[in-house]
Symmetry: C2
Subunit: 298 residues, 2 copies
């Protein structure tokens, strides 16, 4: 199960522009996770939303029971642009709209979800969403700089309740107040989660857990990078989808989950919006996973 | 055999200051390579040089026949400082001194060297040094932004004569005029060398060859980083030392050589000047290599 945003995105990169396309953390996550496992999506849109989600996820086992269409509301809109270094992004405008309202309700039929991802939103809302889930699930969350700076107590309360934080490197440094990423990861473990995964964009990721185990993996060396939007949520989606498929969360399984996240993110960034993910199947993922193994092992 | 600088360094980092300490590319390279193979050092110093190199390399099988002491010259001096992000360095001052003179002569007894590293200097000088070596050796070189910007023709002439370029990521992007590092590596292969290794500091390295093979490895996740000076030359030293020990340069051997370079660089940056390297032995390197394998394989 994923809770997160559904967005109308406008994205500019050196390779072109994609206007009013489908986006949002819950959408990228669901698409990525659906290669591995059935997905339950929780999110809200307004009456202006032009997308037919049954069509978007056709053939993908994504349960849309938790998709709320709010007649009086408008859908979240985001516009951003990427410059030469595709890791740097600028938000051109943002309309929170439905994201500024109460969070969506988790349907009763979703409350027994065993793998839950709380995509980035206010940590107090992530906490409310989490309280609607039965105990005993493996819960991962994302967050971002504005919550670390402005809502740190809420975030720390959330971190005590989740199993895994998946976070960008700059945010990890900010949250831990430590410029060294390894020490930053260890400090964040001290706040609560038993696993911390730090995303470094083009430079890959680092994972550590409360047993002192570590894992580090470069990004897949992609030459096709047209639109990095959704890379982090695709990474998290494939990671959580792979764990859900296996039913396990030991460190060896987490390593392969990170590798699958890395591979699916590399497909997501190859084209605009969801096109990088809708043009592949599980065979492509498995094949690139083998390539990643070959080019990283010595 | 290595040709490169011998320096009197003054380094400031958030962890302290090290004044008038031993440094220079040939020194770091020789120390790192000496864990794996006998080393031949070619470099020049002035009469002011305070270091006893027989003492510095005591017990390490570093042949100093190619060390020229020039009575009328002064030793290269460099002062730099590192700020919170230890990957960013500022040169505070630099006196080229002996480095602005004719390059040192390669002793006759060194001309049959099978593995040669031309550390960063003007590409025309690297070319002159290379012409003194017998054909048939595996030659790697480093370069930097000022030669790419100001002496590109010289550099391209050099690249046609060497086997392997070891270069920083910003310099690779500049040399290839491509912001994507994988494409940049491929474009540099097109200029001449059969292997390109791109160093990404805290983010590891990428290697590609003219047969289309690729390798990518994260940096060792070090929590002790006191002084990054010499990391790149220690990386190159261990890499070339490992190759020389094995006598092979196939891609599988190059992968393990890069991993050894990664490990030795992680020791080099743990302390000021050479202290990170003089405090370890081959057992420490082998042990950390196994850890690196464990935390990167899935």
């Amino acid at each position: 199960m994923v809770t997160g945003s559904i967005a109308i995105d406008t994205v500019k990169t050196p390779y072109g522009i994609s206007e009013n396309c489908i986006g949002g953390s819950a959408v990228y996550f669901s698409m990525a996770a659906s290669f591995f496992t059935p997905v339950r999506l929780v999110g809200a849109i307004g009456s202006d939303c032009p997308f037919d989600f049954a069509e978007v996820f056709a053939g993908r086992n994504v349960d849309l029971t938790g998709l709320e269409v709010r007649a009086q509301s408008k859908t979240f809109r985001w516009a951003g642009s990427y410059h030469d270094n595709m890791d740097d992004r600028r938000t051109d405008y943002m309309e929170l709209n439905v994201l500024a309202e109460a969070p969506p309700r988790v349907p009763d039929s979703f409350k027994d979800s065993k793998f839950v991802f709380l995509a980035n939103t206010a940590p107090a809302l992530q906490y409310q969403l989490l309280q609607q889930i039965n105990a005993g699930s493996f819960v991962a969350a994302d967050t971002m700089n504005c919550w670390i700076q402005g809502h740190l107590d809420d975030l720390k309360a959330l971190l005590k309740k989740i199993d895994c934080l998946i976070i960008n490197e700059d945010e990890a440094r900010m949250l831990a107040a430590d410029s060294n990423l390894i020490r930053a990861g260890e400090k964040i473990l001290g706040i609560g989660p038993s696993v911390v995964i730090i995303k470094k964009g083009e430079s890959g990721s680092i994972m550590c857990n409360s047993d002192g185990e570590k894992f580090t993996l470069p990004a897949y060396p992609a030459t096709e990078v047209k639109d990095p939007t959704g890379a982090g949520d695709s990474f998290a989606g494939a990671l959580m989808g792979y764990l859900a498929q296996s039913g396990k969360t030991d460190f060896e399984m987490l390593k392969t989950a990170v590798a699958n996240g890395t591979v699916v993110a590399s497909f997501a960034i190859a084209d605009f919006s969801l096109a990088g993910l809708t043009s592949i199947d599980r065979t492509d993922i498995d094949s690139r996973l083998e390539t990643l193994r070959k080019i990283t092992h010595f």
